[in-house]
Amino acid sequence: MAIGNPMGLEQTMTRGIVSGLNRILPGLAEQPMIQTDAPINPGNSGGPLVDRCGAVMGINTFISEEANSIGFALPINAAKAVLRDLRETGRVTRPWLGLQGREIDAQIASLFRLPLAPGYLIEIVYEEARPSGPACAAGPCRWSCRARNTSSAATS
C-alpha cells in the first residue's frame, strides 16, 4: 500500500504488489530499491509504502516516467541507517574517491583497442566538485599516466 497525497489529493491510498527487491537503478547511488506496481504519482514522494499489516517498508521516491506502474521506494532499513546522521549532523558523510569508471572486459578492450584486458577504465575524475575530489588532489600525473595506459577516452 502506498499512502500519500498525489497531485494534492490528501490521504490517498493505492495498492499493488512488490514487483522486485534490490533494484539497482542506473544513475543513482548504489542503493537497492524496492520496485512496486502500486500507483505512485507526483506528490506521493516521501510517503510510506506499507505492507499488508501496516508496517512501513519503504519511502516512495521514484517513478519511471516512461513506464506505467513502475515505482521505486527506498527500503526503510536504508532510511534508518541514515536517520541517525540526519538527526545528529543534518547530513550524511560518505567517503568518496572522486573517480568514476568501469571495469574493462574483453569486449570493451577490443572496442577501444585497449592494451589492458582486465583493467579499469577511468572515465571521469572529479575536479570541479567542492572540495575537489581526493583523486584529483592526489595529483594528476599519476592518474594521467594510468589513464594513458588504459584509455585515450579518459578525461584528465
Partner: protein
Amino acid sequence: MRLEGDRVDLLAEEAARVVLAPGATLLDDHLALRVDLLGIEQQVLHAIGLEVDDEIDLVAGDVDEVRRHVLRGERVVLAAVLLDEPRELLGSARRRALEHQVLEEVGDPGRAPLLVAGADTVPDLERHDRASVVLEQQDAEPVVERGGDDPVRGRRRRRGKEHDDRQEGDDDAHRLIIPNAAPPAVVSSSVMRSLGIAALLVVLALPQSALAQPCTESLATLFERVSPTVVSIQAVKINKAKPQRRFETVVGSGVVIERDGQVLTNAHVVDGAASLTVTLDSGVKTPARVLGMDTVTDLALLRLEGRRPCPPPAWAIRRRSVSARRSWRSATRWASSKR
C-alpha cells in the same frame, strides 16, 4: 337450577378467559421476567444447556391462553402448553450432546513461563567458549521477548527500541522479535543456548495465529490505522529563473516517525524550499523545519514546529493491542474532527 347451571358456565368461561396482549401486563407485573426477556441477547450459551430459552415467542404473540394463575414473585413457566414441554426438553438434550462432543471450545493455551535464566552475577573469567564480545554499538537484542501485560516493561521496551524493525505476532501477550541485523552476539554461548531453547519453547507455546499469519484486516481498517501517520508537505520554492511565476509550490508526502514530530520524507520535496507547511491527517496545518537532508538516498528529516499533539509515529500503530485500538480510536476522532 337453571340459574345455577348458568353460573357454573360463567365460572368456567372465566377460568378459560382469553387475555389479549399479555406481554405488557406480564412485563409490568413481573420484574424477573422482564429482566429475563431483556437479557436474552446478552446471555452466553451455557455448556450444559442452562441458558434462557429465547426461542419461545412470548412478546410477539398477541393472544395467549391463561392456564393457571401466576402469583406475584413466582417464576413464569414460559412454555405452558403441555405438548411443548417434552419437545423442548428433547431439543435441549440433543443440543447439549452436540455441545459436549462437538461444539465445546478448547481452552486457551496458557501463557509461556519466563524461561530465560538470569545472567550470572559473577561471570566466568576463564571461559573459552569462542563467544564474541558485545560492543555497545552492536545493539544486541534478546531473541525472545515477553510482554503485553507489564505496562512498565512495555513502556521501557518501547522507549528503548523504537527504531528497530521487528516482526510482531497478533497476540498481545507474546511477541517474537527477529532482529533485522546479524544474529545477536551474546556474551556466553550457554546464554545463547538457553535463549535459543527459550525461543523454541515460546514458539511452540504460541498459538498458531500468532505466527506468520498474514494480516487479514480490511483495507479500510488498515487505512484508518496508517493514515494518521501520513502527512502532506507543501514546500514553497522560489524560482529565480521565472520572475512571473516566482513562487512555486511542490507537494509531497511524509511519514511521522517520532512522537516529537519528526517526519521522514524525500529530499527532492523539500530541497531548496523557502518555507514548509505540513498538513496533518486531521487537517491541521503546521510549519516545519528541515533537520537534515541527504540527496544520495533522497531522504530528508523534518520536525513539526508549533502545535501539539502530533500524530502517532508509524512504529506505534503496528501494535494491535489496546494502544493500537486507542490510536485507531483517535484516528477516527481525527477523521471526524476533520469534517
